[in-house]
Every structure is written in structure tokens, then in C-alpha cells.
Amino acid sequence: MAGCPKRFVHGVGMTKFSLDSIPMAVMAHEAIALALKDAKKSMDEIDAIVVSNSDTKMNDDRQRHFPSVLSSVLKRKMPIIRVPAVCGGGGAAFWSGLRLRYKTVLIVGVDKVASSTTPLVTREIMNASENAWEQDEGLIFPAANALVAQQHFTRFGTTHEDLELIAFKNHSNGALNPKAPFYKKPVSMEKIKNGPMIAEPFTLYDCSLTVNGAAAAVISTAPSEVEVIGSGLATDHIAPFEREDMCVWSSTVEAGKEAFAQAKVKQGDISVAEIHDAFSIVELIAYEDLGFCKKGEGKDFVRSGVINLGGRMPTNTSGGLKARGHPISPTGVAQIVEIVDQLRGRCGERQVKGAALGLAHNVGGAGGTSIVHIFRKVAG
């Protein structure tokens, strides 16, 4: 990162992502404790905290000034700032933390989203879209992304079967992740093909799973096993319909370019990736926008199998947002937890052999804000 000292990840931790109703402060405390233990550090060694939570009103745990909640639960009076960016909150918090001029920074994402009825949660999440043009017209997030998928289908010949491959892959991976709600619960292709309709052409299995949880990471200027070598964030117009091309998420394009330029690596060098898959089409388009394949060839990239476990670049080995779950703000940090664990060889059954370079791609809104981080396993 231009002008910034080198940053290393010293420890990561996350709660199990679940439907359990646990106070946000308690979930955050658990994730932080795990990250500190992993980093072999105490709270005394943390200089600042960046937290992301989404301040939803659908649960009984709405606490807008979460930095002070963290101060209470950690019993520390120190710089704590909040960086909300809806589903991209965790990635944005990590991006912000890297740019703080402290030696050791703790990044936390926490949210309690699965705590009300589907209509209320749907309404609440819709608040991340444009007000008069989108919310008033019933453009819930599955619908907004379904319309993007339809454009992609029409222009490039992508099919729903391609998206089913993504859902199947992520569910297969999630069944191997003890932190995922789908752990040891694989979902068959037949079930995916026959999922109930949500917003045509999307079925349930095109949509990520709403869960509760927290994730944390400790970063420092001191060397460790994993170095952050690329960090990009970009923001685009809020509504896909307003963009020149609904099939290009330029926030991902720009964030990816920045991260790859900093990292001085090429797409083909990446050995493991966590790609934002709030909806199946988002993962497919991200392959194109991040430069793993050309625009319109995402379907071929998916069909080739390179993204499956055992492929050249296994993607969403955690299960992704689809099967590890999507608690909104913690998602971006949880992606980094997975990449760091992959690079350290700690992922058990889903471990990618020889993982040396990992990429995490997190999105807030329907392509509104994208954050890309690239990590390197430090030799030695």
C-alpha cells in the first residue's frame, strides 16, 4: 500500500456462524478472544480497533454506538472507530485498519441479522439500496441481483445451470467447515436445481444464508506468517440500473486493479480465493471483473472447474456467503479468516495444498462498494 508500512496478520478468529440468538457484544468478545489467542497477544498490545456492524432495527440488539459497547465488553479505553459499509463492512474495516498509523490494530465485524421474520429482514437489508428508485419499486436485493443475472444471461449466454455449479461448490465446501451452519450438511445438486423461487431466475440456492456471528483479525507492522500485500477499495453508483453496463461492477474492477498492482502479482498466481457470493451471479461476475477471465467468460471459468477444491484456484473454501453464511458486516473479516487459515495450512479437509497467495473480495450493496485484499504466505 502506497505510503503505508508493511502489514501482517498475526491472528484471526470467528464465532460459529449460526442462527443462535447471542448478544452482539458477546459474539464480538468471543471472536476477539479467539483472534488474540491466535495472535498470542493480549488486549494491552492492541493500539486501536476498527469495528463494523450494520445498526439494524430488526432485532432486539440495536446499538448504534458499537465502539463504546466494545469498550465496555473489552474493558479498554482506547481509539475505537466504526466503519459501516453494509455487506462490505468487514472488508472496509480491514481496509481502514491497514491505513491507521498504529503498530497493532484489531479488526472486528459483528452482526445479528437472523433474528426476525424473513419479510422484516428482507425489508431491513433493502435499506442498503437506493430509496426512491429501488426500494419504492420493490427491488429487494435478490431482485436487484436477479436482474443483473438476466442481463448476463441475455448478453453472454450464461445459464442458471452455471449458477447452480457455484451454489453446489460452495455448499460442498461449507459442509467441510466446522464454523459453517451447513457443516456436515451437504446439499445435493438435485435439491439446488429444485429450490423454491425467490426472484426469478433466482431460487433459494442462488441466495446467501442470513446468519449471526462475529469475526476478528489482529494486524501489525511486525512480521508474521501472513503478509497483506494488496489492498483496494472502490465505490460505484448505488443502483445497477444507473450504471453504464449492468454486467460490470466497476467497484470490483477498480478495487481489484489497485490490489493486484500493489501486490505485484497476476491473477494466475492466486492459489485460493474468497469471492463475495451474496448471490450466485455476484461470484460469477467477480471472476470477470477481477480479471480471472474475460467479460462474458465467467460461465466458462466456472464450468472449467478451476474454482473447485482440487482445482487451480479453489474459491470459497469456507462455503462462502452461501454456505458458511452471511451475517453482513462480519462477512469480509470471515473471508480473511479463511484465507489466512488456508495460507497457514489450518483448514483441515478443505485445505488447499500449497496455498501461497490468497485473495478476499467483499462487496457492499449490489456492487456499491468493493474491497479486495491479497495475502502472501511468508516463507520461512
Partner: protein, 375 residues
Amino acid sequence: MVRVIRWVGESSGKKYIHPIERCIHDGGNIKKVIGTKTKVIGITKVHIPNPLHPIVPYNVLILEDEHGHRMPKKTIKDYCLGDVYEDIPNAGDNAIAAVRIKYDVGEAVDEALELIGGLAVSKKQKILLKPNLSIPGYPYLGICTNPQVIRAVISYLVRKGAEPKNITIAEQSFFMPLEKAVEKSGIAEIITEFGVNYADLAKGGFIVKKEREFTFEIAKAVYETGLLINLPVIKTDTVLGIDGAFENLTRFLSKKAFDELAKNPLKAGLALATFPHVFPPFITVGDASIGMQGNGPAMNGEPGFFNLIFAARNPVVHDTAIQEALCLKKLPYVELAGTLGYGTYEIENISFVGNELDAIRRDIKQPIGSKLIQE
């Protein structure tokens, strides 16, 4: 005709979906570009309800206009890719226009009026606008008719040929000096801006009108105008259920007549039902830009943020449509007016233009404690 609006920098060419006044890139002027010839380039059928959109399935279309600008559009009707999308105006007595505001109240009011066939206005015609200014309230609260709606209606009339000097904004308050509401609501600025007239109906004369068993004292001004436009703000009401087209007419009565009716809600309901026959024909533009839900302004109601403009030629149609759109309990006086033959109150016989009923229907916080509605 749906309107796709973009605010475009005249020199920069930057296109905005928000109504900015100057382009931030070069400080240049902004022109409003409106597309009306739209075709369907995207469709998704949504199967998951939420409180804003409780009726499923519904479709969200992506429409693209003749300028290449796009917008989402919710509709219950099924379309195919490539179809032309258009709203056909309906000037019938059973029609109501329901238009969602896209940050531009003026465009929404204009569109609503055009969707009910438009208004023909002559230069010398006297026009009376009747907003709701019964209780003083800042514009953001939805207590009074939104000054932006009044500005839009006056602008529309002037564009159609009306002279500002022949337009009068008239109201009275039974609870406090009207001037307070005129100032607080922002209407005073509109009066100055356009040079239109302002009248406190309480200070004008009244004439006696008999209808069935009722004797009304009604402001003379009502019968001295060539065009009457009723401009209620759509807000919940603990007595009448909703302040719509009917309620807004009550302040054409003398205070004495109003107080007499207020003593007996049931009798008031019966009297209200005769209003369409008591008053000369009028247009209603229902201001649901903000509006209120819950117990209305008198008892801790709250802004509704409905973001809609309604327009109808018949008050029975107007209030029935709003009752249905906001999932309110049946308004007995509106139904009675319908059975008396003053307008269509069977919802299936009301024709929605701009948006279908099921596309805008949503549950709001209901008013409670109305003896009239319960009875």
C-alpha cells in the same frame, strides 16, 4: 406515460438520479431530461414479501427510455423482454392516478394530473385550491399539505394558461389562527412566490345549502370559482379514519356547522356522505408525499413517508382507493356516498393508472379509537 427522469449537467454531460441544482464537476447548469417512451429490458418476478411490498408475486421491470436511461418499475402485470411499457391516461370518473415520487414532486403531480386526462384551464378562469392547513405543522411532518405539492399544482395550472391572480389558496382552521398554519407549513412562501391569492374562509361569507336531512353553511367562495381543486394531505385520523378528499371538505363548512356535526360522529358520517352532491364537481390531488400514519396529528401520529401522489375526478373513488392502498378499515361515509350514487366505491370497478393497486398496497399503522369507523 411513465417518466424516466435524469438531471443532466448541460456542459459536463454528467447524469444524476437525484435532483441536484448545479453540476459539481463544472458548476454548470442542470437540465432535466425526461423519457417517456420506454421498453422492457429486464424482468424479475419477486416471490418474497416485505412490509413495503406485501403482495407477492410482483414483477420488477427494468425500463429503458429513448435516451438510454433506465429505471426499475414494479408492476403486477406480466411483461416480456422488448415489450413497450406505457400507462394509458384515463379521464373517467372511476379512475385514480397513483404516482410514485422520484425526488421530484412537481413531475409526480404533473404526471398524476395528466394520467387522469389533464386539466383544461382558461386564462380568466377563477381557481380555488383547498389544501389542508387545519393544524400548524412543518412540511416534514406531513400534517399540512406539502408546499411542494401546492407549488406543483400552481405551476401546472400556470403552464396550462391560468393567471396567478385568478388562483386562490383557501382554507380555515377551527382550532387556531389560520395564519400560523400558513406560515409554519411553508404555504406563505408559495403565495408570495407565485403572487396567488390567499383567503381565510372563516372571514368570507357562507351560504346555506340543504341536502337530505342536513343543512350546511358552506363558504361562498366554493360557488364563485370555475375550478375547484381539493388538496388533502393523506393522514390518518382518529375520527374519520383518514383525512382524504371528504375530510378536507369539512373546512368549507362554517365553524358552527362543523361543531354541530362533530358532536355526533355517526351523524357526521352521514352528512359527509352527501358532500359530493353538495359541492360543485372538483378534482382531488391527494398529497401522500409524506402523509401520516398512526393516530394522525392530534394523537402522536407519525410521518408516513408514502412517497405517492394521487389524483382523481371523484372523491369516492379517491378515498376508496386510498383506503385500500393503505389497508385501512372501511370508511363508512365513503361507502355510503357510493351507495347514494356519488361515485364508484367497489374497488374492483376503480381503474388505477400509473401504478396498480396491488403494486402500491401496504399496511400502515392504523388509527385507533374511531367510533365512526367501529360503528
